[in-house]
């Protein structure tokens, strides 16, 4: 079967080859068949070239160039705008960072000032309180001493009077002074 197919194929090819030989066609004809067509090709090409060069290509070149310039310009403008936006954003972020830093600094300064003021007020209050306490203590001591002195004096006087009545004699000023001194000395020794 395969052999039959091959033979038929070769037969068909042979028929075509035979037809080719019978027609005597050639891909390159004699110069008489080609010179005028070649001249026609030159004439037509030159005419087409001339017309296209004056009426078509300049418009296409202009269109391509204008579009190219437009696109290039738009891209450049977009890049400029992006650059400006970036600069503005950078400046805004820088200002924001500065403002934040300044606010933080002010906050810290305020805290420091408040702490210092509080410490100062506390120290002042403590000093005043201490002075008031010391003054009160000294006044109490003074009052206590005065009260004790008055008490001793009164006690001596009373004791002197009682002693005079007991002794039935007049206690002189010297006796009284001596008794008072002795009593005071004794009281001091007891108190101490």
């Amino acid at each position: 079967m395969k052999r039959c197919t091959l033979m038929t194929f070769l037969a068909v090819a042979a028929m075509n080859s035979a037809a080719l030989a019978a027609e005597k066609s050639s891909v390159i004809e004699a110069p008489k068949s080609g010179i005028i067509p070649a001249a026609t090709a030159i004439v037509i090409f030159v005419i087409v070239f001339a017309i296209l060069s004056t009426m078509v290509w300049p418009k296409i070149i202009a269109g391509l160039d204008e579009r190219n310039e437009k696109i290039t310009g738009e891209i450049a403008a977009a890049e400029d705008a992006r650059k400006q936006a970036k600069e503005a954003l950078d400046e805004y972020e820088k200002n924001l960072a500065d403002a934040r830093a300044e606010a933080q600094k002010m906050l810290e300064e305020t805290k420091t000032q408040q702490s210092a003021l509080a410490a100062q007020l506390k120290a002042s209050a403590d000093a005043e309180l201490s002075a008031m306490r010391e003054k009160a203590i000294s006044e109490i001591d003074a009052a206590k001493k005065q009260a004790l002195n008055e008490l001793y004096t009164e006690s001596v006087n009373l004791a002197t009077t009682m002693a005079g009545k007991i002794l039935q004699r007049q206690v002189t000023a010297e006796d009284q002074q001596r008794l008072m001194d002795e009593s005071l000395a004794e009281m001091k020794s007891v108190n101490s």
């Binding site: 005028i36 067509p37 391509l64």
Partner: protein, 304 residues
């Protein structure tokens, strides 16, 4: 059936090559199918070019931002191709001279492209079907008003290469001056090497456009003949409709579709290669003697 007969009849090359329409007594082809294709391609380029130019150019200010938008998908596609050729292909080679040569390079690219694509439309077969009805003698005499691939003719690719060669050398003279242009023929070699170098450089001046012509011609011819052969197989197979003929027809039809897509790609590729190599050759003359010379040579060789 008529189409199948048309495809199956004759040899595959006949579907690809140029056909005469008017031949004078001396045997000179006054008008041929390829010439009609050339005229058609020129008209297509002019009308499509006008339409694209109108769509691509910047609109009135009253349209606001929309004035910058190309209001046509097809025009946008052409604009993208133009932009790619200018910015990614030509400017890296020609730098500040890009604007000067771009109109020529765009024109040659689109001129070749349109002619390559016209070659993929079976205009000759359609012509034969119509002519077979109204003027059978034209088909019988193997004449055709339209069809084939203009860029398949070595004479037409040679004409386009001649224009490219003139542009390449004019650019060289303009860039280097007459003295500089003549000096580049020495390739800055020591004087005792000049007897070898100068003939080589002079030959190179002609070989470059010849290579352009042969490359385009060979690519268009080979691909289109392959498509025609496969279509012939498909037609033969479907006419035979036998146990062998039908599979051959089906397989050949599938193959021809695949090759057709390849040809579509080749149509763009060869137009690009022709334009690109023209650009490379223009740049070589400007930078002759620089280290870029070698890089450009490498690039040209790699792409060729």
């Amino acid at each position: 059936m008529m189409s199948n007969l048309t495809l199956a009849s004759g040899d595959p090359v006949a579907h690809v090559i140029n056909h005469p329409f008017i031949v004078n007594e001396g045997g000179w082809w006054i008008w041929s199918s390829a010439q009609t294709n050339l005229v058609l391609s020129g008209l297509i380029l002019l009308f499509v070019g006008m339409f694209v130019a109108k769509a691509v150019q910047t609109g009135d200010e009253s349209h606001g931002h929309k004035r910058w938008v190309t209001n046509s998908r097809f025009a946008h596609m052409v604009e993208v191709i133009c932009g790619y050729l200018r910015e990614s292909t030509v400017r890296p080679l020609l730098h500040e001279r890009t604007e000067r040569f771009m109109p020529f390079l765009w024109t040659i690219f689109f001129f070749i492209l349109v002619n390559n694509l016209l070659g993929l439309i079976p205009l000759l077969d359609l012509h034969n079907i119509v002519a077979g009805q109204f003027a059978p003698e034209i088909v019988a005499q193997h004449k055709a008003l339209i069809g084939g691939t203009a860029t398949q003719s070595i004479y037409i690719t040679a004409a386009l290469s001649l224009l490219a060669g003139l542009m390449i050398n004019w650019a060289g003279v303009r860039e280097l001056g007459v003295g500089g242009y003549l000096k580049h023929l020495t390739a800055d070699a020591p004087i005792f090497v000049w007897p070898i170098i100068i003939p080589i450089e002079i030959m190179g001046t002609f070989i470059k456009p010849i290579a352009l012509a042969i490359r385009l011609f060979a690519n268009m011819t080979a691909g289109h003949i392959l498509v025609a052969v496969l279509l012939g197989f498909a037609a033969d197979g479907f006419i035979d409709r036998g146990i062998i003929g039908l599979p051959v027809g089906i397989v050949s039809s599938g193959a021809v579709i695949a090759i057709y897509f390849l040809e579509l790609f080749v149509a763009f590729l060869q137009a690009f290669v022709f334009m690109f190599l023209t650009t490379v050759f223009i740049s070589l003359l400007a930078h002759h003697g620089d280290h870029e010379h070698d890089h450009a040579h490498e690039g040209a060789t790699a792409h060729a």
